[in-house]
């Protein structure tokens, strides 16, 4: 069955220049491998299609049951240049949590 990431994970995001980061954290350690397997950089890039202009990088933090995504070209230039409401990428976190993944039931 499909479940939204918001049920399985929480997240926080921030900015570095024109790059937004999203730290995606499994609520329960047992779900971390599921995130590693399904929430790939390619999948995240597709999820944010039209919202970012650059590539997506992914880093694993198994110690924190977390993945860190860098979304390049996400902030219309970033910081003070950006015209976006979310110029500092604060809510890309919950935008990622809209993604659905397949969970065995």
């Amino acid at each position: 069955m499909k479940r939204k990431l918001v049920e399985l994970a929480h997240a926080r995001s921030g900015d570095k220049g024109d790059t937004a980061n999203v730290g995606l954290i499994a609520k329960q350690a047992k779900d971390y491998p599921l995130l590693v397997k399904q929430v790939t950089a390619a999948r995240v890039a597709r999820h944010f299609k039209g919202m970012i202009t650059g590539p997506v990088e992914r880093f694993e933090l198994p110690n924190l049951h977390a993945l860190n995504f860098l979304l390049h070209g996400a902030l219309d230039g970033g910081g003070t240049i950006s015209l976006k409401t979310d110029a500092q990428g604060k809510v890309f976190s919950t935008a990622l949590l809209r993604m659905e993944i397949e969970v065995k039931r």
Binding site: G14, N21, G23, I25, K27, M51, L64, G79, I81, T94
Partner: protein
């Protein structure tokens, strides 16, 4: 040398310039702390301060900090609490003089030594550095600084903990710095208190992680925390986070008893990943921390233990934060009401753009957002929603251009839509938007050996 303490408490007092004015006072009065650290400097703050200093040589620092010190200095002096703050901006000496004045006014003459850390300001040295082959290439674009040299407003190297340690060793109770890293304001006290050598890379990394966790204030103690956010108690009286460190580099995150908020593994994890790049290499002037080695455990109510942090040697570079004049921008808004709120806002946006086109105005960027519909989550937001049922939508249009006149003309095209555009429009009480100057950020690296931090002491 006096005996090393078993534990040292560093309290986070301000996460940014503009953070909760009550927090520093609550941190120094709510329970025992040894140090209070306060972060004031965002990347663009330095350019604003540089502008202030160019108008008045006695300014260029975070004035709010002086007001804070007026409130907390009696407690700080009485309890022997030390303070580290990068409130000095581009004029840390003037900031220290202002704090010394306050101390004297409070009857603390002779009772306060203030350390001033400078040497980060490279603005006056830029041409010499460029001439000697330091390109100061933009880390994102690779362009040399030469391209925007005539528009540079500020340039500051990020100093690390070392000059903070030096100031503390020379007896400073309050250390006021220019562009010292946020993490250095926490690591410095720990290095000083425990006598950590500069090449104790694991402990340097641990102190850096500690600094990262508390540098955003309450973001580590329940603020902006998504995990079970509805159950976080009493954010109205949130307790800001405190690092309780041991000499071996392990530390606990705590907050004062009786305060609101929550310190748990989930919340601390959220703060750890905040603004994170490659977690294996969190680079500061002091060393490189590996965030994939951090172990967290809940060892008590509102007490999270951090251990296992490993580090690597510092690099031979310092990051330089440069601000330069970029152009102008303006943002105009109007609010549309049900029925068809989103459709009306979109129609207004189309009309506005047709008029801007007809006027022949050129912009580097024009961005339309529909607040209430897609401003935060873009196209993802409307997938599960009946767009026609949205009760209200704010049209928010921004433009950016090197041409101030074009931006100014744009600001005059918003209000007419109230009478000559789609219906059910309101929310324009703020009047015509104002074109604002855009100051952009230029990150670069420079050889560490070109930057010499300086420490000076001022007695109140």
């Amino acid at each position: 040398m006096s005996a090393r303490p078993a534990t040292v408490r560093v309290a986070g007092g301000q996460g940014f310039w503009g953070d909760w004015l009550e927090a520093p006072y609550r941190q120094v009065t709510g329970g025992p702390v040894d140090y209070l650290m306060m972060d004031y400097l965002a990347e663009v703050t330095m350019s604003i301060l540089q502008k202030q200093k160019s108008r008045d040589a006695t300014r260029g620092y975070a004035t709010d900090f002086v007001d804070q010190m007026e409130r907390i200095l009696p407690t700080v002096v009485e309890r022997g609490i030390k303070v580290t703050a990068n409130a000095g901006g581009v004029n840390p000496r003037a900031c220290a003089m202002a704090v010394a004045d306050v101390a004297r006014r409070l009857g603390l003459t002779g009772k306060l030594t203030i350390g001033v850390v400078s040497g980060d300001d490279l603005l006056a040295r830029l041409d010499g550095l460029i001439a000697r082959g330091h390109d100061l290439q933009n880390l994102d674009t690779g362009r040399p600084l030469h391209d925007v040299r005539d528009r540079v407003l500020s340039a500051n190297a990020y100093l690390g903990a070392a000059p903070v340690v030096a100031a503390l060793q020379r007896g400073a109770q309050v250390v006021i710095t220019g562009r010292v890293t946020d993490t250095g304001l926490t690591l410095g006290p720990l290095m000083h208190a425990f006598g950590w050598p500069r090449d104790a890379w694991d402990r340097i990394a641990a102190g850096t992680v500690a600094g990262h966790i508390i540098e955003c204030g309450a973001q580590a103690s329940g603020g902006n925390c998504l995990s079970d956010w509805k159950t976080i108690p009493n954010l109205a009286a949130v307790g800001y986070p405190i690092v309780e460190a041991r000499g071996d580099g392990t530390f606990d995150l705590i907050k004062h008893p009786g305060t609101g908020g929550r310190i748990d593994v989930a919340g601390v994890t959220e703060q750890l990943v905040y603004e994170m790049g490659d977690p294996r290499g969190y680079i500061t002037p002091d060393g490189v921390a590996d965030f994939t080695t951090i172990q967290l455990s809940q060892v008590g109510k509102d007490r999270v233990r951090v251990s296992g942090v490993r580090g690597k040697p510092a690099t031979d570079k310092l990051k330089v934060s440069i601000a330069y004049f970029y152009g102008y921008k303006a943002i105009g808004t109007l609010v549309y009401a049900w029925p068809d709120a989103l459709e009306k806002a979109k129609a207004a946006d189309r009309i506005l753009r047709q008029r801007l086109d007809a006027l022949g105005l050129k912009f580097e960027a024009i961005l339309s957002e529909f607040v209430g519909a897609n401003a935060t989550h873009g196209p993802l937001a409307l997938q599960d929603v009946d767009a026609a049922a949205i009760p209200e939508v704010q049209l928010r249009v921004g433009v950016r251009s090197p041409d101030k006149a074009a931006v100014d003309r744009f600001t005059r095209e918003i209000a007419p839509l109230i009478l000559n555009g789609p219906p059910s429009v309101t929310g324009f009480a703020g009047g015509r938007p104002k074109p604002e100057e855009v100051v952009a950020y230029w990150p670069a690296l420079i050889d560490k050996k070109t930057v010499e931090p300086a420490v000076e002491l001022i007695e109140a």
